[in-house]
Subunit: 311 residues, 2 copies
Amino acid sequence: MGSGTIGQSWCALFLAAGHQVTAYDPNPSRELEIRAFVSNSEASLRALGYSNAGSLTDFCFTTDVVKAVEGAQVVQESAPENLALKTQLYRLIEPVLDRKSTVLSSTSGITLEMLQTCFFDPSRILIAHPFNPPHLIPLVEVLGNESTAPDLIQWTLSFYEGLGKVPIELKKSIPGHIANRLQAVLWQEVLHLAKEGVASLSDIDRAIVNGPGLRWAIYGPNQLFSLAAGADGLEGFIDHLGPSFQDWWSAAGHVELDTDTRQFIKRNYPSVDENERRAIQAYRDHLICRILNEKKSENRVAPGDHLNPPS
Amino acid sequence: MGSGTIGQSWCALFLAAGHQVTAYDPNPSRELEIRAFVSNSEASLRALGYSNAGSLTDFCFTTDVVKAVEGAQVVQESAPENLALKTQLYRLIEPVLDRKSTVLSSTSGITLEMLQTCFFDPSRILIAHPFNPPHLIPLVEVLGNESTAPDLIQWTLSFYEGLGKVPIELKKSIPGHIANRLQAVLWQEVLHLAKEGVASLSDIDRAIVNGPGLRWAIYGPNQLFSLAAGADGLEGFIDHLGPSFQDWWSAAGHVELDTDTRQFIKRNYPSVDENERRAIQAYRDHLICRILNEKKSENRVAPGDHLNPPS
């Protein structure tokens, strides 16, 4: 439901995993876009082991949202971030939804409580927020609450696991969920350091990719810091580096995305043409797949992970 | 100079790259530790293409710091983060240092200005801060200033490039340089989200590794966000998501590393035993090498990178 960038990407993934997919969008020209996206993502998804990647046999497209959801087990809603619009769509589909179907919203900015007000029965709508590009990045942030049907959060986690994703259950509603909030704080300090003249925006990107970013693809900060302190673990890390962290937190920058920051970016960060953009995207997607496959070829969970099962 | 964890790691790298290395430490038992580290890191460094990895032919160890630096072209100082101690070492070595030798301090917490006060001639001491583990992670943060000898910053950048590293020049002194400050702001929000009950520390690690961290190993946030907005680039990204980022910045958490936080970590983050720790470290190091080699096998700079040459 909704066939923009995110919807197209979900669609390619669901098809690659062998599901029947009906895509809905009010704009009929989206059909060609989706079909092109499915073809273009075939190589990446095949590299990740999705044997049905690229197949459009089980795909259909409609501009009629009611037809789109009839008989559906799962509705992945990726409509624009506009509550009025989502409300309208939800009101149209609820009467025809199967009682056992699940509506999963890709929203990043609208709360579950707000989405639930659009339904007479709020028990089968959850948030399942992907991370760009959704067909390749494993993370899906899943949120239900006390109005959610019993076991439906667990069912949803299993659904995404079955698609080869890594769903993380959010125990509490918070704007931006986890990943976007973390991206945000990181980017604020990036902008601060660049505006302070410590290094260019591009050099800071380069520092991340060749430094902490390289490690964050493998372990999160808790595990890495815990490892750094040896036998003393995360508490030992705080004993050793806590005072420095407190200093850096106090000195962290506050940036406004105002005219000044926009001008700074305009002056200091080059825009790229269409060809270059395609090359950047292809390189990003290729390496995402390679890194995921390197991990898979280890043929086991990462050491340490079994001590911290998903909670 | 200084043969703790960081010094051992530098030592393994310099030897692997074919340099003659004299390691200094006041503690003679460090010699065996270094020799073991060089052996243990042989496989990783060989995987990265260092043909001399593991060789100890050009290695010697001394507990006499004056002997250690005699005739040295480069002194990588990795003594404990204690200005009095570094001052003492610098005063001892300056009289015997070759006029053309360069002293590179691995310090993360002491400013260049403070280090320079330890020398009669402050023109040949720079900061060259590695990122753990230094023998594998490409990033080296390099800082000189107006007292630094002409061209010595450039020489230092070339020196580390010649070692296969990715040096980034810091144009301004700031506590924590770049990478540690970025790690710090990220970790503060991680702790905040965990303490707020949004997800466990381990689930947040898992979200990073399977979400933003996976991308940060490939491109930095500026390039990724620029890509996300298509033809409109980074400014278009701000038009689209700026208000959300401002909200997330306002709502970002402030954490103190106080008793409360320590107790929270103690209760919620398991410590691991020696065997598990070794496995975690081996997995980390193996994947760092695999990711670096995947990038190298593309046999070109990352698309987009040539538009943003190091500044």
